[in-house]
């Protein structure tokens, strides 16, 4: 396995910038997940890593060695595609050994490798079949098997699970994670599913409009999003973002929310950088799970607010409630046993230690 350094990579088609100055260093054995909305450039970045497209500018180093000009074959990187890209005229065994055959690996070695990989992925009984005789999950396994067979230095997985149904997707996700732990492989994984990103990644790279928005651990990205784009993109239901003004009351910084039907205020999180924003506008980010139902007996102390219930959506594990706070849709993730109904009013408590503030203009995180 190997480390990969992506240094100042830029990609331009005509006058359109697809990738702007992307730099990511991927450690040996790391599981890096690239996430972003469609058209954010993540697939182009994959193609550049694979060598299928040249970057307009920038350098790629695999284990410190410059591979920017190397052909896909020379890089020894394997890729699992969303459509699996199994060769339809070859059997499963032939598909798995194809990369070895192209590398002129000896026949007995190839047979041994096919056997080992098929045992690992439990597809031994499928070796003689053609891809069209396989189910989606089986095809997925074969595609992974083909990637494993030649023991590459780096694996690229391009939305490998998005063609599977929900149940199978969850199973395969676990299996990919297990495989990563077992092989200690370096993996770059593209997805737009943020659950996959959170569960699989050692680090997540969030991209938008060809720009790397944040590169960090799943915890970083979730709890300390670099800007409002990341805050909105990661987490479902998404983080509540409301505009607020920072005010100083009796030496205490407070956030005053004026939008919406009822203005309210919350104590600002303890953060030195926020002091500079006194009188200025910020965007407060509140995760739905940072809200809980308050005891109605509670005094209207700090962090407690009254709100009207708009929609109640029980999901089983928890109940999502839309509240009439901040002028827009404000979602709270509550315990499944809450007794709330549309039209009711209730008192809620917001865990202000989990509240994040973003600059009102640049929308980057403060502190």
């Amino acid at each position: 396995m190997a480390s990969l350094d992506i240094v100042n990579v830029h990609k331009r088609y005509g006058s359109v910038d697809i990738l702007r100055d992307i730099s990511i260093d991927i450690q040996d054995g790391e599981f890096l997940v690239l996430v972003g909305p469609s058209g954010c450039g993540k697939s182009t970045l994959m193609n550049i890593i694979a060598g299928l497209e040249p970057p307009t500018q920038g350098v790629l180093r695999l284990d410190g060695q410059d591979i920017t000009q190397a052909t896909p074959a020379e890089r020894n990187i394997s890729m699992v595609f969303q459509s699996y890209a199994l060769y339809p005229h070859m059997t499963v065994a032939q598909n798995i050994e194809f990369p070895l055959r192209m590398r002129k690996v000896e026949k007995s070695v190839r047979a041994e490798r096919v056997r080992a990989v098929s045992r690992l992925l439990q597809i031994e009984h499928l070796l003689a079949r053609k891809p069209r005789q396989l189910s989606g999950g089986q095809r997925q396994r074969v595609a992974i098997g083909r990637a494993l067979a030649r023991e590459p230095r780096l694996y690229l997985l391009d939305e490998p699970l998005s063609n599977l149904d929900a149940q199978l997707r969850a199973d395969m996700r676990t299996e990919i994670k297990r495989l990563h732990q077992r092989l200690q492989a370096t993996i770059v994984y593209v997805t737009h599913d943020q659950i996959e990103a959170m569960t699989l990644a050692t680090r997540i790279a969030v991209m938008n409009g060809g720009v790397l928005q944040q590169l960090g651990t799943p915890d970083d990205v979730y709890y300390r999003p670099a800007n409002t784009f990341v805050a909105r993109f990661v987490g479902a239901p998404r983080m509540n973002l409301i505009r607020a003004r920072v005010a100083l009351r009796a030496g205490q910084a407070r956030l005053e929310f004026a939008d919406g039907a009822r203005p309210f205020s919350l104590p600002a999180p303890a953060c030195a950088a926020l002091r500079a924003y006194e009188g200025a506008e910020v965007i407060a980010g509140i995760r739905p799970e940072a809200v809980r139902l308050a005891d109605p007996q509670d005094a209207a102390e700090d962090g407690a607010i009254d709100a009207g219930v708009d929609v109640v959506e029980p999901t089983g594990a928890d109940t999502l409630v839309s509240l009439d706070l901040g002028g827009g849709g404000f979602t709270a993730r509550l315990a499944p046993d809450v007794r709330l109904a549309s039209g009711l009013r209730a008192r809620f408590r917001i865990d202000t230690s989990r509240l994040i503030c973003f600059d009102g203009r640049t929308e980057t995180r403060i502190g």
Binding site: T71, A73, I77, Y87, H89, P99, M102
Partner: protein, 305 residues
Amino acid sequence: MDKAIARVSPPARGETGRLGLQWSRAAPRVVLYLLLAAGALLFLAPVYVMLVNSFKPLAEIRGASLLALPSDWTIDPWIAAWATAKIGVQATGLRPYFANSFLLVIPAVALSTLIGALNGYILTQFRFRGANLMYAALLFSVFIPFQIVLIPMAKTLGWLGLAGTVKGLIFVHTVYGLGFTTLFFRNYYAAFPVELVKSARMDGAGFFGVLRHVLLPNSAPIVIVTVIWQFTSIWNEFLFGASFSDFSSFPLTVGLNNLVNSSTGVKEYNVHFAGAFIAALPTLVVYVVSGKYFVRGLMAGSVKG
């Protein structure tokens, strides 16, 4: 589809009503089959005339109706057309010309198909500058009438030292076929899954490796279409054959023409019919054997292309 659905749910009615309903449903079908039968008859009539008269002695053709079955069956006209009829100055029959045509058509079809596949691969998988212009130019070559290229082609063949040889004809037909074969393969490969090609490149297949291991093995429908198309057009081609060959390299079409158009002696219609049939047989065989792939291949190219 919708006809089948309609048949499933006949409304319950009285006997006469149901009969009337059946007739009104069957009537279009009857008319359709009558029209198709008439059409088939129209196209098959000349074949019938050719076949029937090729088995008659010459006297019977002159004496009786062209449509009548032979009263005195004979295969002599076929033997004459194949082996003994006088064509030009020699009494060789069509046999040597038949051989020439095969020597011409097999390499010409193979070469033009392979180069067409290569062109289609390059035009679809490598987005190079001017690719569309190149394709447009190749496409345009399809519309150039044969007559226009006669003199330039004759000069080229002279330069290459291929004038009057089967090799020269192979060259001419390969070049002339490229427009069509490229068109076929380009449209087929334009709908080919990009990821398969990407995957093959990452798996270590080189420029020709991708074509050989991934594209060609999955090209059966379009290869069949191209082969049929090229085979029939080269086999039946006359003008190039007459212009660029000599006595040693005349293809079958020219041989047949010389057999039929000989200005001396009696016109042996029965031998001519047999000769024409011999000339048409290989293309007939090709169509019968692969006709269903031909239609399937045309559909495959058109639906997604």
